[in-house]
């Protein structure tokens, strides 16, 4: 068995044992169910596909919750093991530091993917079971939403590793992680909104807007899920989407870049760190 898989397996084992998997899956499922049934009440059955409504509400939920869960999982990954003393023993084994990081990444990804898939899946399953008609296109959109949610989670797991590799104490890593979350989820968009208001209706150069949206992974995610089709009309984000030259593949590429860059950085910092 490959070293990466061995480490990933251990991370999953630990996640199951300390109930991380259970807790996150239940949390996501409970919120998804609440949103899909409460959220569908006002729209009724006026021609809108119910699953599309769920996609819009779940995407908004994802933007807040998935980065938080990912950062909570990841900020401890390196500095926590160093602090507890388990890292010293691990690196004395025939395993490279790159393999340790990739193994952890794979394990954490599996935990997050499981929670998202089954947490959100219950909402869709519940809708289907209560007799709602769901078109094939909506199913695909739902699947795309889950996949992109997992991508967003991977972005923040990678960012969490950077904070973890940088910090000399767990509490520092935790603090930085919360700061990162606040910045990307709240502050960045508020600042962007402020800029748009200050521009007093004059349109920003579209290239600049594109760059600003791609510089924040949560915005890339938002645009990817809410910017087009039925969801675009429902969320009102279709307006922005119309102004940008960004399309789906470009947004996915942006998310992938947002995974690769922090992961490389975390790897580099961790490799240079002396224990």
């Amino acid at each position: 068995m490959n070293n990466i898989l061995i480490v990933a397996r251990k991370e999953i084992q630990e996640g199951l044992r300390n109930r991380w998997v259970l807790a996150t899956t239940l949390l996501l499922a409970a919120l998804a169910l609440t949103l899909s049934f409460l959220g569908s009440a006002p729209t009724g059955n006026v021609g809108v596909n119910q699953l599309d409504v769920v996609i819009v509400s779940l995407s908004s939920l994802t933007i807040f919750l998935v980065p938080l869960i990912a950062l909570l999982l990841a900020h401890d990954a390196i500095v926590g093991e160093i602090e507890r003393g388990t890292m010293l023993l691990l690196i004395s084994y025939p395993i490279g530091r790159r393999q340790i990081i990739f193994g952890k990444f794979l394990g954490h990804l599996a935990i997050l993917a499981f929670a998202t898939l089954f947490g959100y899946g219950t909402a869709a399953a519940a809708l289907a079971l209560t007799g709602t008609e769901i078109g094939l296109a909506s199913w695909w959109a739902f699947l795309a939403m889950i996949t992109s949610s997992i991508l967003l989670g991977m972005v923040f797991i990678a960012i969490g590793y950077v904070t973890s590799a940088l910090s000399s104490e767990r509490s520092t890593a935790g603090g930085i992680a919360i700061g990162v979350w606040l910045f990307f989820v709240l502050i960045y968009d508020m600042a962007l909104l402020g800029v748009l208001v200050a521009a007093e209706g004059r349109p920003l150069p579209s290239g600049l807007l594109d760059i600003l949206l791609v510089l924040n992974p949560t915005d890339a995610y938002r645009l990817l899920n809410l910017g087009s089709g039925e969801a675009g009309a429902l969320s009102g984000l279709g307006g922005i989407a119309g102004h940008t030259g960004l399309n789906g593949p470009m947004l996915v590429a942006a998310l992938v870049a947002w995974i690769a860059a922090p992961l490389t950085l975390a790897l580099r910092i961790f490799s240079r760190r002396e224990l």
Binding site: K10, R17, R84, G85, S92
Partner: protein, 306 residues
């Protein structure tokens, strides 16, 4: 004689402005049990980390099993066992899961584990409990079990007996002597000097990053020229004066019991003098200088030189 398993030549390691190791050279042979002795902060752990290849020396070279360990040669690490000082594990996993994880990393057959648990004295029931519930001694035993995975040729044990009760310590040293006869090089660092006494072939004393003594216990005693303590209890019939032997200052400690500190070269002649009339002697004790005294001597000598 086969090639040494571990070679350090004029190794130095600096952390920023702190010189953890200044100039250390030694070779460890196959089947040798070596005690690395020194105060806290003397550089013991740094030396072990250098041998593991976890850190690179600022100067000098380190060779383990013929390779530079810092190059990350996995074949070497597979033949290396390491027990860190105050070892810790992932709390949520059981002992068995923990050991299986390390066994897989070392490519050791997981089915060999039952024997290992038995060797280090962890009951099967305990092996299936989470590590969180373990006492310090049990963690130490689990730590030892992982160090023994894959029959290592070099074992580096950092404070291996801390937290073990006397029975377990004995158990531990039995394990060590078994490994020694199998040809494993064992380096153990310790403060607990007295218990190392009969268990090591060689003692290396480090202080402030420098080797200040290296040799067999006998050789070090010779260098230190610490006096041997002889205590004689005279038999009832004999006179109650001190035993003869001109150049020795006998001191009465109890009724009929006399003690003297004797230089190494006078030891034998004095013993002969004392025992010329076997009937007059009720008891005779010869106490060689202990490792503790040796250690104090070498550290003290070092202190006086500066």
């Amino acid at each position: 004689m086969t090639a040494p398993t571990v070679t350090l030549s004029s190794v130095a390691k600096r952390y920023g402005r702190i010189e953890a190791v200044k100039d250390v050279s030694f070779e460890l042979e196959q089947g040798q049990t070596v005690a690395l002795v020194g105060h806290n902060g003397a550089g013991k752990t740094t030396l072990i980390k250098l041998m593991l290849g976890l850190i690179r020396p600022t100067q000098g070279t380190v060779q383990v099993l013929g390779k530079d360990p810092a190059r990350g040669d996995f074949a070497v690490r597979q033949r290396l066992g390491y027990l860190p000082e105050s070892v810790s594990f992932h709390m949520a996993l059981t002992g068995r899961e923990t050991l299986a994880f390390y066994a897989r990393l070392k490519r050791v057959d997981v089915s060999d584990m039952a024997g290992l648990f038995e060797r280090v004295g962890l009951a099967p029931a305990a092996a299936d409990r989470p590590v969180r519930t373990y006492s310090k001694g049990m963690r130490q035993r689990l730590g030892l079990a992982q160090a023994l995975l894959g029959a290592p040729r070099v074992l580096l044990l950092d404070e291996p007996t801390s937290g073990l009760d006397p029975a377990l310590r004995r158990n531990f040293y039995e394990l060590v002597s078994g490994l020694r006869s199998a040809g494993t090089t064992i380096l153990l660092s310790s403060h607990a000097l007295t218990e190392l006494e009969d268990r090591t072939d060689r003692v290396i004393i480090v202080n402030e990053g420098v080797t200040i003594a290296d040799g067999t216990l006998e050789k070090l005693r010779g260098i230190a020229r610490l006096p041997t303590r002889i205590s004689v209890t005279l038999a009832d019939g004999a006179g109650i004066t001190a035993p003869s032997g001109g150049q020795v200052a006998w001191k009465a400690v109890r009724d009929r019991t006399f003690e003297a500190e004797v230089a190494p070269e006078n030891k034998i002649s004095i013993l002969r003098d004392v025992t010329t009339d076997p009937a007059a002697v009720a008891a005779l004790h010869v106490v060689e200088p202990t490792l503790d005294e040796l250690y104090a001597h070498f550290l003290g000598g070092r202190g006086m030189m500066r």
